[in-house]
Subunit: 231 residues, 2 copies
């Protein structure tokens, strides 16, 4: 009756902070509403204005949230990847429909749960509810920190920090290194909360200054120390 | 025994979204831990690294959160005013100390409550806890929207939107209007999540273009329609 992968994937969900406060019985009851979604790049997860009835845990893959502007351009708002949740904070608000579109960027395996079943569990158990409250409050702090970083750090700072985070530990002591961008540039821009044009402008500026060479998604950083000194 | 103002101020707190899910008995038990703080501009509310034991509801006045940089500069991170809470999301995290300093910007009346008493109530009642969860999740959505605005709108856009929000309804159809900045420029910059230098640069640019004249905290906007067209 159940998808055979479900039994295999549920223990991963069990470890997630959104379920950690649940006891076994509570998690088992929620599992009854779980579904596995094997999706391909380009697939739609949900559309803006669609009714909210489930939320999603990304087991593996990449999901983008986006809106479409008046003139038909796609504006990517955020990008989520392995072990991140999509749409979970929306279920607690009094809106009944999604405020963005969600689509798959790289082939993905997701687990979804019924929003209704999840909310019911939280309403019945203060221990579950308090556990989720702690988790949501921690994210609120993270977002506040992100806003502070956005207001204090220039776009250039943020790009450098991102590029340095992509350097492998084993390459950390080398002078020149090669990194591969993990996502398309406009998705990285969204993850860094900047416009795609801004990300491109910063990279072009780095090239012009001789700091790096770019071949498609591959960046050759000529001097790691120089880049580190810039932040 | 109690401060005489406390009885007068508690009904205001009762209406706040952080307490709305409480029943009368629960709110009464929390009220036992409430204190009134009458504070003057410049007073310290709490210091970074101090133990978290209370959270604050601003009845009236202005409070800033700030850090001090290595070279001794004060960096304002956020500014809160009437009916906003300070420090409430920190109490749910597993940190035990404040991550910022908080100080009074304009003479303020605050109510504070014991974090411990508040958390205990939430842990005991799933109805209370769920009510607060809904509130905190809504703020998480707001912060997400704020981040999106930061990444999509330029600093100029954000300053214009702020200035337009300061135009009185009765002045809305006038061509030229006078507005008074409600806070010091660096505090407005913090509220708009930008650096003070950026705010000043945008205003100087507006002056240079003849859009407005500035006398201290008073701005004379020469043509409201021109400003509206820019966003």
């Amino acid at each position: 009756m159940h998808c055979p992968r479900l039994k295999f994937l549920l223990p991963t969900a069990r470890q997630h902070s959104l379920f950690r406060a649940f006891d076994n019985e509570q998690f088992l009851s929620l599992s009854g509403s779980a579904r596995v979604h094997e999706m391909k790049a380009g697939d739609t997860l949900y559309l803006q204005e669609a009714e909210i009835d489930r939320f999603y845990l990304i087991i593996q893959g990449v999901v983008k949230l986006y809106r479409v502007s008046c003139d038909g351009r796609e504006i990517v708002l955020n990008v989520f990847t392995d072990k991140e949740c999509v749409g979970e904070s929306e279920i607690f608000t009094d809106k009944h429909t999604h405020s963005t579109n969600a689509a798959i960027v790289e082939n993905a395996t997701l687990l979804s749960f019924s929003s209704q079943a999840y909310k019911l569990l939280l309403q019945q158990s203060s221990a579950c509810c308090y556990g989720v409250l702690v988790e949501i409050a921690a994210r609120l702090q993270e977002k506040q920190n992100e806003i502070e970083a956005l207001s204090q750090q220039s776009a250039t700072d943020r790009v450098i920090r991102f590029l340095l985070s992509q350097v492998k530990d084993t390459d950390n002591k080398k002078d020149s290194v090669v990194i591969k961008l993990p996502l398309a540039k406009r998705l990285i821009a969204a993850r860094l909360s900047m416009q795609p044009e801004t990300f491109s402008r910063v990279i072009t500026d780095f090239k012009r200054k001789g700091l790096m060479d770019v071949k498609g998604s591959q960046l050759n950083i000529n001097c790691l120390a120089d880049l580190r000194q810039m932040v």
